[in-house]
Subunit: 269 residues, 2 copies
């Protein structure tokens, strides 16, 4: 079994540490992030990723998935922390005595960690600001069998509690890279790879476009879209039809419509 | 010009009224909802829908779109209310002196208001709990030229500030209906209409399914999916491939992938 600590005071430094992981600057300093919920932690475990620390209420009801998690944390040399329900509520922000949370080491997010030949599709998001959209893109990436998500320029933090939650576990299965545009485009052009943007300019019907693996599907910022210069650097610009008043889709929706279209082409060709 | 009121005190009953519209029970009682931002209010105006009351900061900088809005509110017999920036911040929850908000009468959301022959596609959501997902489905509906969104069972409130914002104006262009399942299925079967569910059971590849207008595309609750009995009542069950660990997509994403597929079939057939 893993070493076990019990926390009974609100002012314990560990409580402060756990709460601090809700803020980006503390996550960056600690290089750690929080994932909450038995399902999410089980997804992580089944993907071979175990928290350094598992946090739960003292006297929590037993659950076979929790037993499996405790065992995995112990085997990996991690720590189990129990605390009063009231203190746990301060950590998780939820008044749920069944809550569990895990502290994970942040993943390596360098482009060098991406093997582009490992998957036919990769998602790319530029200046994506909403952590829910970011997590949803990870979830969609998992669903289409993409390799991962590459975040260009100033995106939301993929390790925020909101993004991790919206990913529904895909944060643990999809590769993640964070890069500036210049760095990304230089890396991309070092080997084969088709860069595709959803765009309204000078573009091909997204149903008829010649998608080719490894295919990098890029969507832009929620309110600005992609910079023109980035669109110009793409190998393919594709248009998703807009039959109504609006001229754009939600960014995560646009990425998903494009990803499923590319999947259908790449799976049959 | 519209009648103009200036509010200088935090305790003014109108301030309390405006703040109360952030809560569902007050919206239901008043049959009114809030939409915020010049862009959203302009979308409304361009769709022929004008707020009963337009709220902004006293001494706000002029803007041609705001002028057009003020004129439309005046022409429709509405009211314009100006208030100190600090009071406006209390109403909108944002510290933005350029903020504007409009109070709208809630729309008729009875099924009887839906003309199913007015559009080839209709979206249906069952027990959709997240207002962001709900608004995103409205936005997608606008983009695919759907007629509107039908909300089955206990969904998030489509008139919440979050849903209205996520709809990006589609709340003003898409028809909206709210009904219990029994009521919906009875209404549906009174005339032609194909009910399609995204499902993993006994179903057809979503790329090869025989979509037919008027086509009602239904997605289920974020964590439970659709009840089996509802799936059984469908004319068509279609499967979106899942190539990864996860067994489902975000509900708004699933609806969008399905809606764009149906659009491609219905547009070419």
């Amino acid at each position: 079994m893993a070493p076990r600590r019990t926390i009974t005071g609100f002012s314990n430094p560990l409580v402060k540490f756990l709460r601090s992981l809700r803020e980006k600057k503390h996550r960056k300093r600690e290089q750690r992030f929080l994932a909450e919920g038995l399902r999410l932690l089980t997804d992580a475990r089944e993907s071979g990723i175990v928290p350094e620390m598992l946090v739960m209420a003292a006297g929590r009801e037993p659950h076979p998935l929790l037993d499996a998690l405790e065992e995995a944390v112990g085997a990996a040399g991690g720590e189990i922390v129990e605390m009063d329900v009231e203190i746990l509520a301060k950590v998780t922000g939820k008044d749920n005595p069944q809550a569990v949370a895990g502290v994970f080491a942040e993943f390596d997010t360098r482009l060098a960690g991406i093997d582009r030949h490992a998957a036919p599709i990769w998602l790319v998001a530029q200046a994506l600001r909403d952590p829910g959209n970011l997590g949803t893109m990870l979830r969609t990436g998992d669903a289409v069998g993409a390799g991962g998500l590459i975040l260009i320029d100033d995106c939301a933090d993929p390790f925020s509690v909101e993004a991790v939650r919206a990913s529904m576990g895909a944060i643990f299965t999809q590769k993640l890279a964070v890069a500036r545009w210049d760095e990304f485009i230089t890396w991309l052009r070092q080997d084969e790879g088709q860069l595709v943007a959803a765009s309204l300019r000078d573009s091909t019907d997204y149903r008829k476009a010649p998608y080719a693996a490894p295919c990098f599907l890029m969507v832009g910022n929620e309110s600005q879209g992609l910079p023109h210069a980035y669109e110009d650097a793409c190998d393919l610009r594709v248009t998703i039809p807009m039959r109504g008043r609006a001229d754009s889709l939600n960014a995560a929706v646009a990425g998903a419509v494009l990803a499923y279209e590319a999947l259908a082409h790449l799976a049959t060709n």
